[in-house]
Amino acid sequence: MNDMTPTKLKAADFATDQEVRWCPGCGDYAILKGVQRTMAEMGATPENTVFISGIGCSSRFPYYMETYGFHTIHGRAPAIATGVKLANPDLDVWIVTGDGDGLSIGGNHMMHLLRRNLDCQVLLFNNEIYGLTKGQYSPTSRVGTRSPSTPYGSVDAPAEPCAFALGSGARFLARCIDTAQKQMPDILKRAHAHKGASFVELYQNCIVYNDDVFGAFTDKKESAHTQIWLQHGEPMLFANGEKGIALDTETLALKVVDVKDGDWQAAGVRVHDERNKVMAGLLIAMRVPDFPVALGVIYENPAPSFEQDVRTQNVEASKGKVVDLEALIKKGQTWEVNQKKLREV
């Protein structure tokens, strides 16, 4: 007998037959794996899923996903995605971009996508470098970054992707690390579940041009002290519960406090509230060594999504109107000419 029940897809079913063309050891591999796993776990439908990217190493991503994919031009993925989603809101749209693609040439589209709140997931692979063009510094590179275009070190202050997103009006912010395979699927599922634009910054190691730039907090040995994985409604604890994040309510600055015997309340550790935008802004700014780096879902505050509002308005505005092309072109003051007269030439 023919078994017609759809079999659940595995991570491997989301891989294409294309040879993956990143440098051996590139963090992109891990993210690809994490995304494919997430797809399988979510039970994503390949044909309803579209990956849209710009240009960059990271933007090669769609070629490796057995879904629909569009590898567009540098920086423009958010704009293309907006058209895709407006044309077909049923599609599940994922944008893959880099720190150069999404924040340098594409910063404007990013801001407007976030502001408009298009329902999609933005995965920004931040390796603090231009990988594809061979290692120039990027808008997220730290001051002093030596690169082919800044042989004496970069001087300009870097952009902070999540702060930029927040200022642009983003309503879902999360962070993850390429190698954090355990946490990644949950974060991506949360991003996917969020209606509206979800902005996910993925710290991604470029082994060739910027190796270990996130070492200060990605090093597994130190991670208990350098990473804090936020959970909504849970106290913001790290270092195996021995430290926590508190707030100085006078200066409105965060501080790390020691937690004795698990009594985080006494230490003044705050509970993570995803809805709190002010806290989100503060958490984003935490930097090693003074603080752990904030990871996980930092902020969520849903609102109606752009394509939904557009669709609704289209429907509302059309209500009760006759769709008659013939009548449309005859609109306005018209007159009839009856007798046949030939125009002279």
């Binding site: 044909e47 031009i73 423009r76 995605a81 407006l86 599609l91 109107k321 769709v323 609109k331 003051q333």
Partner: protein
């Protein structure tokens, strides 16, 4: 009442065609007046063409020369295709309007001026040292000058409006007078006033009163001596239902019709820019026709969103003017490479750079044909007139979908704003060619049909997942492929596909004359009107001159080369420095001679006429 009235009969004189120019301050409502007069002219059965000519400023300071807004209409009993070389009648609502428009007036033409506005302040603002109505500066014209302002105030007195408010009806008073001059029915205007001011009856009534008063002023022969009355007969035209349309309206309707004929929802992504914005405005009101409009953050986002919509299965259209089209160049390349349907409308304006945003020009042909990196062929078509924009839009949609390609549709500021009567076509007279989204067996995304168009697979279709992008793809599999032979093959295919569009476009015909003439005048776009009139006049004068007007600028009709090669003399008038000329010489190796005008103004018939004469001498 001012001086210098020449004795003249007030009886209606028969005219084949008349050109009237309304000119006043931006706040004087000249565009509205012109529009209503146009409507009235159309209802009277004359053929007509208009040329709204407004300032770049939103609202320039009152009384200044750069704040003058003008509206010209040419109408007659013969076929009218230009707004007229020189007005017969100039209505000057203030000194600045007189100053800036006088030079255009026909020698001996009639000036109607509102003395109420010729006070010292306004004279000074317009740069007059003395009042020209009182010197002999206007001695070569007929001048009828009187206090329209005062007349208007008087006529609306009973409504108790403030002075400023009351003077707003000056334009209706003037319109009333002009309607009298041309013996027009006031009723349609009255109806329009009442519908426009439905919520404010007093204003409607005041305007109506002013309209009637202006008309009555004309009838009072004593006062209106010097004002001629004209009779312009109905034009001889095809029977049918008519309306007036501007190019902007016709283009919007054409896009809606074009999308409907290929059976696709229309996605319109745009960013405001003069003179392209009206398209966005019109289409955003037509949601019930399956139109989604998207005002993007810039032109790049606008075209990209439209590409995205096409990728998702709709018909993406984007629209801008020169500077914005320049920004879209890179993304056009993406549409060429991914072979997605897309219509790009360029409403050309004066360039380069920001240039002259409110003036007309056709200087973006180079950009349309050649303005992309790499070998990126793209069909280009151009509308010749407001009415023609409708058909061109339909044609652009057809080609885009049938050949899976971006198509550039050129129009310009003149066409966009100008109005002419339109015999409304029957939609069923256009062929329906519904697009198909492939949903069959697994297939390469670069599988092509006999026209070399690739399959259009909508995301969402089960079993056909695939990846496209701007990097060169293997001709067979659609996977990334940098191999030399493959790139050559794909380049050849892209070129052959676009060249193949010529298979489905009509042969080039003659607008006037034929192969036996001595000279052919070749044009494209909005120069159609003046060229047609100039050639017609020259032919009447016995000149052996033909006219060819090209809609399909790329690829060109297959017979165009042979057709042109029959001529020793080819004249190419363009509102640029000679861009079509380049294409003709390149493609057909014919000695096409340019006639260029780059002043932000349409050609005058006489300018082309002179060039014809010279070419034939």
């Amino acid at each position: 009442m001012a001086t210098k009235l020449k004795d003249q009969t007030a009886a209606a004189s028969e005219r084949e065609a008349v050109t009237v120019r309304f000119a006043g301050d931006s706040g004087d409502g000249m565009q509205l007046t012109g529009g209503q007069f146009t409507q009235s002219t159309a209802l009277a059965g004359s053929d007509l063409a208009t040329f709204p000519d407004f300032p770049a400023e939103i609202r320039a300071p009152q009384g200044t020369t750069f704040g003058v807004s003008a509206f010209q209409i040419n109408f007659g009993s013969e076929a009218i295709e230009t707004a007229g070389d020189a007005p017969d009648i100039l209505i000057a609502m203030n000194p600045a309007a007189l100053k800036t428009n006088l030079s255009a007036l026909k020698p001996g033409g009639l000036i109607i001026a509102d003395t109420g506005e010729f006070g010292p302040r306004n004279l000074k603002k317009a740069g007059y040292e003395e009042n020209p109505l009182e010197t002999d500066e206007l001695k070569d014209y007929q001048l009828v000058a009187f206090d329209i302002s005062a007349q208007t105030l008087e006529s609306v007195k009973e409504f108790g409006l403030g002075n400023k408010e009351a003077l707003r009806s000056k334009n209706m008073w003037t319109l009333g007078l002009v309607l009298w001059m041309f013996d027009r029915d006031r009723q349609p205007i009255r109806d329009w006033l009442h519908s426009k001011f439905a919520k404010n009856l007093d204003i409607a009534l005041a305007n109506e009163a002013a309209l009637n008063a202006g008309h009555a002023y004309g009838e009072t022969a004593e006062i209106a001596q010097g004002l001629g009355r004209y009779h312009v007969g109905a034009a001889e035209v095809e029977p049918g239902l008519y309306r007036t349309v501007t190019g902007g309206e016709a283009l919007s309707l054409g896009l809606v019709a074009g999308a409907s004929l290929v059976d696709l929802p229309l996605f319109f992504g745009s960013y405001p820019i003069t003179p392209a914005s009206p398209l966005l405005h019109t289409l955003s009101r037509l949601k019930e026709f399956g139109v989604t409009t998207f005002q993007a953050e810039d032109e790049i986002a606008a075209i990209c969103a439209s590409i995205g919509a096409s990728y998702a299965g709709q018909l993406g259209v984007t629209s801008s003017s020169g500077p914005g089209i320049a920004l879209k160049g890179e993304a056009m390349g993406l549409a060429v490479m991914t072979e997605l349907p897309l219509v790009i409308v360029n409403s050309q304006r004066g360039g380069p750079s920001t240039g002259l945003p409110t003036k007309t020009e056709q200087s973006d042909l180079y950009q349309a044909l050649y303005g992309r990196n790499g070998d990126a062929p793209m069909p280009v078509i151009a509308a010749r007139s407001p009415v023609d924009a409708f058909d061109c839009a339909i044609e652009a949609c057809r080609i885009a979908v049938e050949y899976m390609t971006p198509v550039m549709l050129l129009t310009d500021g003149y066409i966009g704003n100008a109005a002419e009567p339109w015999r409304v076509p029957a939609i069923e007279s256009y062929e329906r060619r519904p697009a198909t989204h492939y949903a069959g067996e697994a297939v390469s995304p670069y599988k092509r049909d006999e026209k070399l168009a690739r399959v259009w697979i909508k995301p969402g279709t089960p079993g056909l997942m695939h990846r496209i992008g701007g990097i060169e793809k293997n001709a067979d599999t659609g996977n990334i492929d940098y191999a030399p032979a493959n790139h050559q093959k794909m380049t050849d295919i892209r070129q052959a596909k676009i060249n193949g569009v010529a298979d489905t476009i009509p042969d080039q015909g003659f607008e006037l004359g034929g192969p036996d003439d001595d000279l052919v005048v070749v044009g494209w776009g909005s120069t159609y009107g003046p060229i047609h009139q100039a050639v017609k006049r020259a032919r009447r004068g016995g000149a052996k001159v033909a006219q060819v007007h090209i809609r399909h600028l790329w690829p060109m009709p297959k017979n165009l080369g042979p057709l042109l090669k029959d001529f020793d003399r080819i004249l190419v008038p363009e509102m640029n420095t000679g861009q079509l000329k380049t294409v003709l010489r390149d493609q057909f190796l014919v000695d096409a001679k340019p006639l260029n005008k780059v002043s932000g103004q349409p050609f005058k018939i006489a300018e082309i006429g002179n060039a014809i004469e010279e070419a034939l001498s």
